[in-house]
Symmetry: C2
Subunit: 491 residues, 2 copies
């Protein structure tokens, strides 16, 4: 009865996926694994979509006959695949209700929505999230916050647009970067994730076209799903040429772009490319939602490239910043820089979500932005060393994998040479490595050939992680696949 | 050009309101002010709706002829009213674009979305938000957090469901209240506001009926607007009988209720009434979204009433808690207690909003919940004294106003005896008192007869505030109305 009543309301949110849609995102499933009977490979394809969260749980799958027709296979192939998934606890069938995906009891999905790995034992390497640990100097800065806290404790503690000292620090930082900024142009958010959410809500309508590059930051994709935006994804390239072509084709309201040390590829657009992008945005009447989460993490000498907002029109560029990548994600402090009209809309929308950001973290962030230069320099050196260690480990253990060496950011974007990303990520779990498969960085379910590997661990750990990963690769090459009992893959 | 490009996208979000809708929310506008020409009273009515944010800015008003027909007035009356509002900067007319509401340049609205007063000079009394200042003991607890922080700084800092120590503290607190609770049943949120947002998203669909009591917490109303819920509001009564009747009539998916020191009325449901509510919820297949933000603030001896979740089915009741009212809103720490299936959905939805809550505040909240008993006892005594001071001040300065004296919570819900709430709140601003008009606590634009007055200031301040308020009342009774130059009302 108890869980029953809950189930009712969950069921009321049940979505379904058509044969056509499923066939589309399954893509070339028979060749994803070149081994095993057809039904097992179909099960693998569907299982990958579920584990990868491209099919959320609670979604009703198409009927066996209809899917069989769509895929040009026998109904028996589909029913055997469904049966296998049922045995694994990934499918639940109810009388007359068809088969719905479900989260196997007690299992937390590796996949979406994009978010940190939930609960991991010791001796795990979490490479699913590209984020680095905090710095003990943050504790020192907290002591400074301590001194001013009583003043703020004397107030009720709501600051919808953000505390003035933090907005001052952020505005000064932009101004130092060559982009004159006032406190009125800044709104503090709960990390870049909320900043992106609010910007998409304030500047676009559901079903309006929004152009993104693929691969891109999965958290942004989750936001676009939430707002049911019509997402047009173009392949990422070095100079954002494809992006500009895509913009001219659909004249999008909004374009999400990471110009500084792109996540996951590390691409850095130069000034000329930014100017071209800004020109195209002006031609198309598009807003550029520019995610600068990684801008501080250039370790071949800090980026001297002009902020996109300084080459684009004031009203045209919405810049998103965050403490999470450069300082510590545990702060949950981000911000938006935009013109006042946009900021007013964001602050208004934000209040209905969660009112405001916490005072202590805002004071701490202000202190860090003002005094954190040494910390950042140290972290850049550290990241450079970690990047080099990861590159070397990959060269020696997985020499066939191809990637470009980025001049900043937190990760390598690796071409595996074959579509094994989802399978490999699942297998890696049994070696206590948590990774995000390449498919998480796009919408269309491609990118099975790619894997993001963050260099966010100390060099010795990265070496061990890559050794373990190469063992997982060997298993996959020896024929291990997700059709192996799924329990195993998630020990 | 710059702001131009922004304007385009804002314009794309322009909504409009029909003559029928406007006439409906205008209600009995000719009698709201019994003075001045008809066009001025119509302007007053529309102005109140704008200032009160029941008509957001950027909304296109109906054409003059159509509204005139709907209101049975001459077109000249409507055009004069529009002209007046244009002169005041509340309406903007574009060629062919009709008249749209706008925020007068440089003005921040007192009204929605529900949120803290933005920027206030010295010698202002902010009674728009029912929240009390923090306590210096919070700074002491922060020192304890300091000791454990290094351990957390060594991790990437994402905790989507919330830090275990905080979920343990919250679960233990529920268990002490007689409601056995495990850490799996708790998700930490950014205040009660986010908890309500996530619960509504996870447990209801747009256009599904959700029953609320009127008056109620404006932040919850903003959430229901955001999710385009079909809100059925019933009048609040002592024993929630109307609520139960309303539930039986519409069999809502979700019911939002404040059982402990209701905001704004302070009503406390007893155990029998809670049991009746839980039975009705079971009959109707409804979920109860129970906002317990004020549960710690009973100052006639802490509430010995059983939590609703302990009399309702586990799967049926979603309890929302918060540190904001009992400790400090500057923490932005709240939580949801529900069964695991619901918690899983909330955590998933939360990640796409803003990933997780900040580490430091969660550690601080855990410390406060564990050790804050003395602080709470002190605050209850303080609030009781403030309540008594407010009651006395009202009796002596505004003896005609009627209210019940609550045994907990943060505010009095005062019946003004005439529909002047919006006008009075606007006038009070010129006496440097910020208040929320009664209309903010309901959807249908009634409650013009009511005013929430929080007893969240020290007794001497409350006395001065009520003296000023009575002066504002005198102005209104002498005929001052919002048709006075609006600048004046917002000095």
């Amino acid at each position: 009865m108890q869980s029953g009543s809950t189930f009712d309301s969950l069921a009321s949110k049940t979505r379904s996926i058509s044969s056509y849609q499923l066939a589309k995102i399954l893509g070339d499933w028979p060749s994803v694994s070149r081994r095993g009977p057809l039904y097992a490979r179909l099960a693998l394809g569907i299982r990958s979509l579920i584990l990868d969260a491209r099919i959320p749980y609670g979604v009703r799958l198409p009927g066996e006959r209809s899917l069989a027709t769509e895929l040009h296979v026998s109904r028996r192939t589909v029913s055997s695949a469904y049966a296998l998934l049922r045995d694994e606890g990934l499918l639940m069938s109810r009388r007359g209700g068809g088969s719905s995906t479900q989260l196997p009891p007690g299992r937390s999905r590796p996949g979406a929505p994009w978010g940190p790995a939930v609960g991991q034992g010791s001796n795990w390497f979490d490479l699913a999230i590209a984020a680095i640990a905090g710095d003990s100097r943050i504790a020192l800065s907290l002591a400074k916050v301590h001194e001013v806290l009583p003043h703020y404790l004397a107030q009720h503690g709501y600051a919808p647009q953000g505390l003035l000292p933090l907005r001052e620090a952020v505005a000064e930082h932009y101004t130092r970067r060559g982009l004159a900024t006032t406190v009125e142009q800044i709104a503090i958010t709960s990390g870049a994730q909320q900043a992106i959410s609010l910007a998409v809500e304030a500047l676009s309508n559901p079903l309006e076209p929004i152009v993104i590059e693929t691969p891109t930051y999965p958290g942004a994709l989750d936001v676009l799903r939430r707002y049911r935006s019509r997402v047009i994804d173009v392949g990422l390239d070095e100079d954002s040429e494809s992006l500009r072509v895509g913009m001219r084709q659909v004249l999008p309201r909004l374009v999400y772009v990471i110009a500084d040390y792109h996540n996951p590829t590390g691409r850095l657009l130069d000034t000329a490319q930014r100017e071209a992008l800004a020109r195209t945005a002006a031609e198309c009447g598009s807003h550029l939602l520019v995610d600068e989460s990684f801008v501080e993490l250039g370790f071949e000498g800090a980026s001297s490239v002009a902020p996109l907002a300084s080459v684009g029109g004031e009203g045209r560029v919405i810049s998103v910043g965050s403490m999470s990548k450069s300082y510590w994600a545990g702060l949950r402090v981000g911000w938006v820089r935009a013109d006042r009209a946009v900021i007013a809309r964001l602050v208004e929308a934000r209040a209905t979500f969660d009112m405001a950001s916490p005072i202590i973290d805002q004071l701490l962030a202000a202190e860090l932005i003002r005094t954190g230069k040494d910390m950042l320099d140290y972290r850049r050196q550290m990241l450079r060393a970690q990047r080099d260690a990861l590159v070397e480990a990959l060269h020696s253990h997985l020499p066939d994998w191809k990637f470009q060496v980025p001049s900043g950011g937190l990760s390598l974007w690796v071409n595996l040479g074959e579509p094994i990303s989802t399978v490999l990520v699942a297998r890696a779990e049994s070696y206590r490595i948590r990774l995000a498969s390449g498919t998480r960085f796009g919408l269309s379910g491609t990118l099975e050939n790619y894997l993001r590997i963050p260099f966010t661990l100390p060099p010795p750990d990265l070496v061990v992680a890559i050794e373990r990963l190469s063992a997982a690769v060997a298993d996959v090459n020896r024929g291990w696949s997700l059709t192996a009992p799924i329990g195993e893959a998630f020990v």
